[in-house]
């Protein structure tokens, strides 16, 4: 049996179920308790679990993230919510220099089972500081795992897996899609970390994406279908470790690849996927891998900038036609 759930409610279920199951799990962040979360992801959790386990912090990202890391080293399983990943930048020291490295620098004596979660990516006209994506940033760091998924059912199962995982995990959500609905199974289930999912099968071209750009890719695929082009759409779901196998297998079938990635182009997820595919599916490629990213700039406020900056179905269709050598 499945029911329709919004992404925010699916994430809420994931956290609540894990907190019922494991007394060491707690949620901490700005406005998570009394305000029910800036985006209402933790709605009702203070009522159920009380202030010992659902904790409002001051605006002190570096401090409360470090407190989370220490608590994780000392036997707890913190979930640290960032209002957005843009503010997690203040806490990168604790995520990158500590959470990611605790196991290594302690020679395996201390693990750091912690989840850092919050929305990543542009969310309308929010300008330079509030519009960034962080999958590539965090994905660059050995020691961390990175999940980025907006499908409510998958996001729920992945977050549950993340909370149970013994490694530090960054979970990227989407401000714009907290209300996005999908079928979510009843009852207990997990989605494994590190496994991509084919959202739409196709034969002519592979489009790889993640987070809200999956919807852009699907929209483009629908348009392309009308022109007789069959696109396969892969949702990476996990950024690190990245499921190259699923992408390679798809490219072996379609022989063409477009990566749609909201991050900036330089040294990002799109570049990484392109590298792996040229290395492991070189003989199967009928065209150079191409990609659609956000512009290589900061994002200004005006609507004209947002439109120009972000990937959209038209840009994806153009890229698909490019790898298919279709003019116009």
């Amino acid at each position: 049996m499945a029911r329709e759930l919004a992404l925010r409610d699916a994430l809420n279920e994931a956290m609540s179920e894990e907190m019922r199951r494991d007394e060491t799990v707690f949620l901490m962040g700005e406005e998570v308790a009394e305000y029910n979360g800036a985006y209402k992801v933790s709605k009702g959790m203070l009522d159920e679990f009380g202030p010992r386990r659902v904790i409002d912090t001051p605006i002190a990202e570096l401090g409360f993230t470090g407190i989370g890391v220490g608590a994780a080293m000392n036997g707890l399983r913190p979930i640290i919510e960032f209002m957005t990943w843009n503010f997690a930048v203040l806490a990168f020291d604790q995520i990158v220099n500590n959470a990611a490295k605790t196991l290594s620098q302690s020679g395996g004596q201390f693990k750091c089972p912690i989840v850092f979660r919050g929305p990543s990516g542009a969310a309308g006209q929010l300008a330079q500081q509030h519009s960034q994506t962080f999958e590539s940033w965090m994905g660059n760091v050995p020691g961390l795992k990175v999940i980025s998924c907006i499908d409510p059912a998958d996001a729920k199962g992945l977050l549950k897996s993340a909370i149970r995982d013994d490694d530090p995990i960054c979970v990227m959500e989407s401000e714009l899609l907290y209300g996005y609905k999908g079928e979510v199974p009843e009852g207990e289930y997990l989605v494994p970390i590190g496994v991509a999912r084919v959202r739409k099968e196709g034969t002519d071209v592979t489009i790889v994406s993640y987070n809200k750009m999956v919807l852009t890719a699907l929209e483009a695929a629908e348009e392309l279908a009308k022109e007789g082009i069959s696109a396969e759409v892969i949702d990476l779901r996990t950024i690190r470790p990245l499921d190259y196998g699923t992408v390679v297998n798809s490219v072996k079938k379609t022989n063409r690849l477009v990566v749609v990635d909201e991050a900036w182009p330089f040294a990002g997820v799109s570049a990484e996927v392109a590298y792996e595919i040229q290395k492991y599916a070189f003989d199967y490629l009928d065209a150079p891998v191409t990609r659609v990213n956000s512009a290589d700039t900061s994002l200004g406020y005006a609507p004209t900038f947002v439109e120009e900056y972000l990937p959209n179905p038209a840009k994806v269709i153009k890229a698909v036609k490019e790898v298919m050598y279709i003019k116009g």
């Binding site: 009394e34 006209q125 500081q129 509030h130 512009a295 200004g300 406020y301 439109e307």
Partner: protein
């Protein structure tokens, strides 16, 4: 009531009511506060019409802070603040036209439609911006002050932040360095009682924010932020201290925001009574009353200001409406000073 107390009360009442400054000062305060209030009201309306998008944090209720600061500074002084900054920017001399056009995301805006509500900048008047990252401007303002001292000027930098921002570690790092290097920085915490839905008391053991300066031996005081006069006085005193080379000063200015945190916040975390109690001390109403009662100006003069401000804001809206959005290619402008920077465009 005991007569001594009664007399003392009368004396203070008399003292606070008696105008200490000249007519121009009072009328300037009144006009600026009214300009801010009307600007914000109009911005909220335009937001409702979806002409302004993104985040929009208005300054309604806090106008006296901007007014009192500006009258106590001298040309050459700098200001940096957070994202609740329309009122500060207007105080700094950003025109209502350029500010409104920015909110509309038009190319005639103060930063060409690049910043929106949170990011006005005005280099000409040393306005170093609105910042969207809570607390980020605290060390930045300290650095602006550092540069003034380095260059040997007697300018200072007013570094403003909210009660929520006061909990960022950067505040302590900045206070320590500013104090030990005697930097010309006036730290101002606009304590409006809330950081989003979190009241000051809920995330701290030290609700008196001015005390945060005391750990560094920084002169620190609490100020009534509903009166431009008391803000002016406190800033003037602090500025004198700073300009004498004695280092930074910290003012916790107690104020209140009448509206929610941003346009999308219904502000259910506080009572109507609380909001009403502040509206009774409304800085614009109280200032207007004082001007009339003390015969500083006539009601005709006040009405003239009201008309002037109204026309100015209407003109700003028309200007914003009639301006164009920036060309999309502008996305590639202002990222690097290098004009031919090779962007990745694949």
């Amino acid at each position: 009531m005991d007569t001594a107390v009664e007399n003392k009360k009368k004396a203070t009442r008399k003292k606070t009511n008696k105008p200490k400054y000249n007519k121009e000062t009072y009328l300037n305060w009144y006009e600026l506060m009214l300009r801010i209030r009307r600007f914000e009201e109009r911005a909220l309306m335009a937001y409702g019409q979806q002409k302004i998008r993104g985040f929009c944090h208005v300054y309604i209720g806090q106008e006296a802070v901007s007014a009192g600061i500006e009258s106590a500074l001298k040309p050459g002084d700098a200001i940096v603040t957070a994202y609740r900054q329309h009122g500060i920017a207007l105080g700094r001399g950003v025109s209502a036209k350029a500010a409104m056009a920015e909110l509309y995301g038009k190319k005639t805006g103060i930063v060409k439609g690049k910043g929106g509500s949170m990011h006005f900048f005005f280099a000409e008047n040393k306005y170093f911006g609105g910042n969207g990252i809570v607390g980020a401007q605290i060390p930045i303002g300290t650095g602006i002050g550092f540069a003034e001292k380095y260059k040997g000027t007697d300018n200072l930098c007013v570094t403003m932040f909210g009660d929520g921002a006061a909990r960022q570690g950067a505040l302590h790092e900045s206070f320590n360095m500013a104090m030990s290097w005697k930097l010309p920085v006036l730290y101002i915490c606009e304590n409006n009682g809330y950081a989003m839905g979190t009241s000051v008391g809920r995330t701290t053991n030290v609700a008196d924010i001015y005390k945060l300066g005391l750990g560094y031996d920084m002169p620190s005081e609490q100020v009534d932020g509903m009166s431009p006069e008391s803000v002016h006085e406190a800033v003037a005193k602090a500025a004198k201290h700073i300009r004498a080379g004695k280092g930074p000063y910290f003012l916790e200015i107690q104020t209140y925001r009448y509206k929610g945190h941003s346009v999308s916040d219904p502000a259910k975390y506080r009572t109507k009574e609380e909001v009403e109690s502040y509206k009774e001390k409304d800085p614009i109403k109280v200032t207007e009353k004082g001007i009339i009662a003390n015969k500083i100006a006539t009601s005709q003069e006040i009405n003239k200001i009201k008309e002037k401000v109204k026309a100015e804001i209407e003109e700003a809206v028309t200007f914003a409406e009639n301006s164009d959005f920036p060309d999309p290619s502008g996305l590639y402008e202002d990222n690097y000073m290098q004009k031919d920077y090779p962007f990745i465009k694949d």
